[in-house]
């Protein structure tokens, strides 16, 4: 069996070599298609991480009602500290907040016009899980001494919307590009089949089974797709490397987003995806060609 397998693999290699330019076209188109797929995959996963991680980093800001005493605020703070699901609960007094605000603000003159400190006492609560954030926020909101609670719900919702749009666009684009890649590989395999029609005729006449005849062509398509995937992932990883070492440290806004990626899995997905596309392409072209005779 291994002797035959070796023969079949060599046949596939010979096909690839004889096809030359066509194989190059196949590999580069599948590389481009998979590159775009990879970009969407990357943006998607990173955005998902942001969305997924956001509620965890979100704090609950609870502003005390006007007239609530410092004692009430301290009592609530102590109570929260003992509650499960709360990581940190800290009291920011209105004096601290005012000083901080005045220091940071560029409207110092305007703020100087205030005779009195308009800010209330505030509790800054950090929770352990996203579910706790929502639960605790609701609980704190129900307290009479609390005026207003801000748990960053809106930000999360907006991020989720963006993520969903990008994910849908990515999936649609991926399907379209995948079909295109399969069609291109299918066309290339058809040309190989045409170039090798004499060999195929001879194979059929001496009694080779259809699956035996197909195998090298299947392998050829898969190799072309996988190679395209390899090139695409190589380019993307190189771009990522450039981004993390050169761009990210120097641009202040993006350096907060930490890139986290299982590189091996990423390469595997692109190479495997390419191989599957190549296989589909090969099967498509062979269905028509081999049944004719």
């Amino acid at each position: 069996m291994f002797g035959s397998l070796f023969f079949l693999i060599r046949e596939a290699w010979l096909n690839l070599r004889r096809q030359g330019l066509m194989a190059v076209a196949c590999v580069s188109t599948s590389a481009i298609a998979l590159l775009i797929l990879g970009v969407f995959f990357l943006i998607g996963t990173q955005l998902y991480r942001v969305v997924d991680g956001a509620p965890r980093q979100m704090e609950i800001h609870a502003f005390m009602r006007e007239g609530a005493t410092r004692a009430q605020a301290t009592a609530l703070q102590e109570r929260l500290e003992d509650m499960p699901g709360v990581a940190v609960a800290r009291l920011v007094t209105r004096e601290q907040a005012w000083t901080e605000f005045r220091q940071k603000s560029s409207f110092k003159d305007v703020l100087d016009g205030f005779k009195e400190n308009p800010l209330p006492d505030m509790l800054r609560i950090v929770t352990t899980t996203p579910e706790e954030t929502l639960r605790l926020a609701d609980w704190v909101r129900s307290l009479p001494e609390v005026d207003h609670v801000n748990e960053g719900k809106e930000v999360v919702r907006q991020l989720l919307t963006i993520y969903n749009v990008i994910r849908t666009a990515g999936v649609v684009l991926a399907v379209l590009l995948g079909l295109g890649t399969a069609a291109i590989i299918s066309n290339a395999i058809r040309m190989t089949l045409f170039a090798r029609r004499r060999d195929i005729r001879v194979m059929q006449l001496v009694g080779a089974t259809n699956s035996f005849i197909r195998f090298p062509f299947l392998l050829e398509g898969m190799a072309e797709g996988a190679l395209g995937g390899g090139i695409a992932s190589g380019l993307l990883l190189a771009a990522l490397h450039y981004y993390t070492t050169r761009v990210q440290p120097t641009v202040p806004v993006v350096n907060q987003f930490e890139l986290d990626l299982n590189r091996l899995l990423f390469v595997g997905i692109l190479v495997g995806g390419g191989a599957v596309l190549g296989m589909v392409g090969s099967l498509l072209s062979m269905r028509k060609f081999l049944h004719a005779t």
Partner: protein, 266 residues
């Protein structure tokens, strides 16, 4: 005209190797490649199928390897009705049949040896067995010294020998040859025909479609003559009968054809 095909699964061992019963092949509405042909070929026979171009010789051979399906009738090969064969059983049928073409059909980018071995490789034979059988087949056709050469480096006769080696390397019980000498000079043609006869003597049934008059006359074998898709003559030891090529009048009575003087018994 309706031919009723009786559904039959298998036939007894004693049945002829090939039997066509009322076979009609219609390419388009009017164009009949074969018209109600019935013929039997016993195991070990050597048969010439003669006739003009387009008389249906090639169609008859292609029926036997299921390259062509009959419009009506039964095509029995080695106990199987080829006409109703399922696609997945076609490879098994073809492994029992060797085929030789007028244009050799060797693969140009492979050596003669690789061409012969190719027929074994594609049916899953490899290693020592592959080398032994390739070697034997090349020896039988007298191409031992040219195995490493490419088709374009050898003569037409040698190419056809290699093609014959490829056809017999799987030791088939039936060898079909479609105009095997059509591209060869008379001397080389005779050599190829002698080679086919030699293969026939070792027990392989041989069917040769040809319009090479000299060869047919010289070998004095069974001759089946086709004309416009019908069998018009079937003689145990026949000649080519030149008149068939030149006229469309009915065949002359058998007495006009001089019987073969050489009677060879195999």
């Amino acid at each position: 005209m309706i031919t009723v095909t009786k559904p039959q699964a298998s036939r007894p061992e004693s049945a002829p190797l090939i039997e066509l019963i009322g076979v009609t092949v219609r390419h388009r509405e009017q164009n009949l490649a074969l018209d109600d042909v019935s013929v039997r070929v016993e195991r070990g026979e050597y048969v010439f199928i003669v006739g003009q171009t387009g008389s249906g010789k090639s169609s008859l051979l292609r029926l036997l390897i299921h390259e062509l399906r009959p419009t009506a009738g039964e095509v029995w090969v080695d106990g199987e009705n080829v006409a109703t064969l399922k696609p997945r059983h076609i490879p098994q049928l073809r492994r029992k049949i060797g085929f030789v073409f007028q244009d050799f059909r060797l693969l140009p980018e492979r050596t003669l040896e690789e061409n012969v071995a190719f027929a074994l490789r594609v049916i899953g034979i490899h290693g020592k067995e592959l080398r032994r059988r390739t070697f034997e087949a090349l020896e039988r056709v007298g191409l031992m010294s040219k195995g490493k050469m490419y088709p374009h480096q050898v003569s037409g006769g040698e190419q056809q020998r290699a093609a014959v080696a490829r056809a017999i390397v799987n030791t088939p019980g039936l060898l079909l040859a479609d105009e095997p000498t059509g591209n060869l000079d008379p001397m080389t043609s005779l050599e190829i025909m002698e080679l086919l006869e030699q293969i026939n003597r070792s027990g392989t049934t041989v069917l040769v479609a040809t319009h090479d008059q000299q060869i047919v006359d010289a070998m004095c074998k069974r001759v089946v003559q086709l004309e416009s898709g019908r069998i018009v003559r079937d003689e145990a030891r026949g000649r080519y009968s030149v008149s068939r090529l030149l006229t469309t009048t009915p065949p002359p009575p058998p007495t006009e054809v001089e019987p073969c003087s050489v009677v060879s018994s195999s």
